[in-house]
């Protein structure tokens, strides 16, 4: 064979291979197109919590319609409304909504009732498309996994962070707190009721508000709601101690009305400038630099929530996942899964955050240069999520009752009706009856 003939042969083989490749890719993309376009004309109904991401998500749904032909209707509901409607829908099998945003703490009850589609196989099948490794492991676990069953897919990750007044700290010559003990000391130092400046604020209102905030501080101070067997241990020595500290802070370092505050109240007090330190969810962080909402623009520093001295660095994690209603028919379920993949994909989710969604689930997002320019506190969120703890509020099926019991007990202590030891002993007795 001459060199020319050999060269021509290779060229023919290359051409042949190229033709096969083109044909195969045409078939594959054609079938993917066919698969995607076969959902044309469907409508999905999504019930969303009224957090900052909801309005942005509603705005983005026309893009999904353009890409796939599926219309998505977003209903924005308050927390109790959402929980009630969701449970009623599942219990009555009424198929009112195809998709729900689910709170981190609902994973246990959803797994126990089996009302949402278990996503483990779907995730495995589409792992490359979803880029599972890009999602923070703590969020994949906390925002929808319970004992191995993935009942929801992470959609909005929140980190518990500390927002503090840089100007007040500078004035007093203090460094931003690196341990919980520092924070408590700084809170007392910075409190000056004559100037209406208080060093500390948290939820005090009876019910879920005070229960959730106290559970966060409790974990940071070394307490735990459950013991290592997963049974309630509400009156452990560490819990009693942290409740005493919490009560002292409320009496000596918090605005007087804090005993009635829920999330709205404490955010308002910080934004109005009367509070020096507040631990809060990262989703609210952008609001402090917005003049239409905040009187402390430019004076707020964002750092990780300080752990107790000598304790491991575990930062509180919260947020919302997306769950698919198991009652809807197969085609709707597939369309819903397509929506979840689309909404949590790197490009769409980045757009969600650029427009103010404040919800981070991907490592790439918190390192993205465009987002960093707009929200310089992203490294704080990143550190919190890498070392995050999504279980300081136990995500078990009995969570609503435990939250309620604690809500009563902690509020009673803050108001001065009972001593921490007695309140937690009674709470423990009530909680033990649930198991």
């Amino acid at each position: 064979m001459t060199a020319r003939q050999g060269g021509a042969r290779i060229k023919r083989r290359l051409m042949f291979a190229l033709e096969i490749a083109i044909a195969v890719s045409a078939i594959v993309s054609g079938s993917v197109q066919a698969q995607v376009k076969s959902f044309e004309g469907l409508t999905l109904k999504l019930a969303s919590q009224n957090d900052q991401f909801a309005a942005v998500l509603a705005d983005l749904t026309p893009e999904f319609k353009q890409a796939t032909g599926v219309t998505v209707k977003v209903d924005i509901l308050s927390y109790p409304d959402l929980l009630t409607k969701m449970t009623a829908d599942f219990v009555g099998h009424t198929k009112s909504y195809d998709l729900y945003t689910t709170d981190i703490v609902w994973a246990g009850q959803l797994a126990a009732s089996g009302s949402t589609v278990v996503l483990n196989d779907l995730i495995k099948r589409d792992a490359a498309e979803i880029k599972v490794d890009d999602i923070y492991p703590v969020l994949m676990n906390a925002l929808g996994n319970f004992k191995g069953k993935q009942v929801a897919f992470p959609f909005a990750g929140y980190a518990n962070i500390l927002a503090y007044r840089k100007d007040l700290y500078e004035q007093a010559g203090l460094q931003p707190p690196s341990t919980m003990e520092d924070l408590v000391a700084a809170a007392y130092r910075l409190t000056d009721p004559t100037k209406h400046i208080y060093g500390f604020v948290a939820n005090g209102q009876k019910g879920p508000a005070v229960a959730q905030d106290w559970m966060q501080y409790n974990k940071q101070m070394g307490g735990d709601i459950l013991d290592k067997d997963g049974k309630p241990a509400l009156n452990s020595a560490a819990n009693i101690k942290s409740l005493t500290v919490y009560k002292d802070l409320f009496q000596k370092a918090a605005p007087p009305g804090a005993v009635d505050y829920d999330w709205d109240g404490r955010e308002t007090s910080f934004r109005q400038g009367i509070v020096a330190n507040m631990q809060t969810w990262s989703i609210g962080a952008a609001g402090y630099s917005d003049p239409s909402q905040s009187k402390v623009v430019g004076k707020v520093g964002i750092i990780v929530a300080p752990p107790g001295k000598g304790l491991p660095k575990y930062y509180g994690v919260g947020g919302w996942g997306l769950a698919i209603n198991k009652d809807i028919d197969q085609k709707q379920q597939e369309a819903a899964w397509l929506f979840i993949k689309w909404a949590t994909s790197p490009s769409v989710h980045k757009e969600l955050n650029e427009k103010g969604g404040g919800s981070y689930i991907r490592i790439s997002e918190t390192h993205d240069p465009d987002l960093l320019k707009k929200y310089p506190f992203l490294p704080v969120i990143d550190e919190s999520l890498v070392n995050g703890d999504g279980d300081y509020r136990p995500r078990i099926p009995q969570y609503p009752q435990i939250q309620d019991i604690l809500g009563d007990a902690v509020n009673a202590v803050l108001v001065g009706n009972v001593e921490p030891q007695k309140a937690l002993d009674e709470a423990q007795a009530k909680a033990a009856r649930l198991f």
């Binding site: 109790p80 929980l83 009630t84 449970t87 219990v91 009850q109 126990a112 009732s113 209102q205 009876k206 019910g207 508000a209 605005p255 007087p256 009305g257 005993v259 009635d260 109240g265 308002t268 007090s269 109005q272 009367i274 099926p397 609503p400 009752q401 309620d404 009563d408 509020n411 009673a412 803050l414 108001v415 009706n417």
Partner: protein
């Protein structure tokens, strides 16, 4: 009532007539019954049936999220409710709230009604304005007052705290004053309605007796005590029973302001029922609370109706 419509003429051949003789009276009765039937069926379906279901469920331990664990427990739910100290406190709190709110509204409402009795343009315009608080949604009322009374940045609450009128935690944050504040909020919302009812009652009083009393030289106070008040008693009781039924079920303003706190100061039975039923989905226990509320409301409604009948009879004797 005398005319006989004999339908059995059609089968005049047979001596034994099987069709009932339809008198006009019977026709009319049948027509009226049929006319009421849709409403009757509706009430049965929407009110009576759920009520019976509620009683049925209260005998079960039934959680909607764990339907498999449903079990008959007889009166255990009622025993549990009575054994719970917070629950017993809730009954007392609800009763105190109802009694105080209704009394305050009646007194203020009667005062306003007497002032509005003169029926000129001014009074009529003011009555229309006064009814605006009644039209506001109860949840919105709760949120408005929560915002106003917040001790740290509420327009009213801040100054109350600054000037020492309320404690530093505000009226709603202090267990001693929280319930009375809610009574005041309830009065703010419903006094105009009581005024309207009492004003209607006042306008229906026979004027000849009042004019005669004035001619006889009775003072204002005497006229009020001896004539107006006794004749107005049926209307007063009517307003009282209407308001009591609603005040006992108070929920929105409490949920929107204090959520039952601080401590247990504003914990009412309806809050209990909603928490058990719509947060924990414990249908058994929620039904128990709801049934107890029905019993309480029924008891004092019956008492009031008896009082109204008695007062009505007395008023008509004059």
């Amino acid at each position: 009532m005398g005319k006989q419509i004999e339908l059995s003429r059609e089968s005049s051949g047979s001596l034994i007539s099987t069709k009932p003789v339809m008198t006009f009276a019977r026709y009319r009765r049948l027509f009226l019954v049929l006319l009421c039937a849709p409403a009757f069926v509706y009430v049965l379906a929407v009110a009576v049936w759920p009520l019976l279901q509620g009683v049925y469920f209260s005998l079960y331990k039934y959680n909607l999220m764990r339907p498999a664990s449903r079990a008959f427990v007889g009166l255990q739910n009622y025993r549990d409710f009575w054994a719970d100290e917070a629950a017993r406190g809730a009954i007392i709190t609800t009763s105190i709230f109802t009694f105080s709110a209704v009394t305050l509204e009646l007194i203020l409402g009667l005062g306003l009604a007497l002032l509005l009795w003169r029926d000129s343009v001014f009074e009529r315009a003011l009555l229309a304005l006064l009814l605006i608080p009644v039209t506001v949604t109860p949840v919105a009322v709760g949120l408005i007052f929560r915002a106003l009374l917040a001790p740290d940045f509420g327009v009213l609450g801040y100054y109350f705290a600054e000037w020492g009128l309320s404690g530093p935690r505000g009226f709603l944050g202090n267990p001693a004053t929280a319930l009375w504040t809610l009574v005041a909020i309830d009065a703010w919302e419903w006094t105009p309605l009581v005024t309207l009812i009492l004003l209607a009652g006042l306008k229906s009083l026979p004027t000849d007796i009042l004019e005669a009393a004035e001619a006889d030289g009775a003072t204002l106070a005497q006229r009020f005590r001896l004539i107006i008040l006794p004749m107005l008693l049926p209307t007063i009781f009517l307003a009282a029973v209407l308001r009591s039924m609603d005040a006992f079920k108070v929920f929105d303003i409490i949920f929107a302001t204090t959520n039952g706190g601080p401590g247990d100061a504003t914990n009412t039975m309806m809050l209990f029922a909603v928490k058990e039923g719509l947060q924990f989905f414990n249908i058994g226990r929620a039904s128990t609370v709801a049934n107890l509320m029905i019993v309480c409301i029924a008891l004092f409604s019956v008492a009031f109706v008896i009082l109204i009948r008695g007062a009505d009879r007395k008023a008509n004797e004059r």
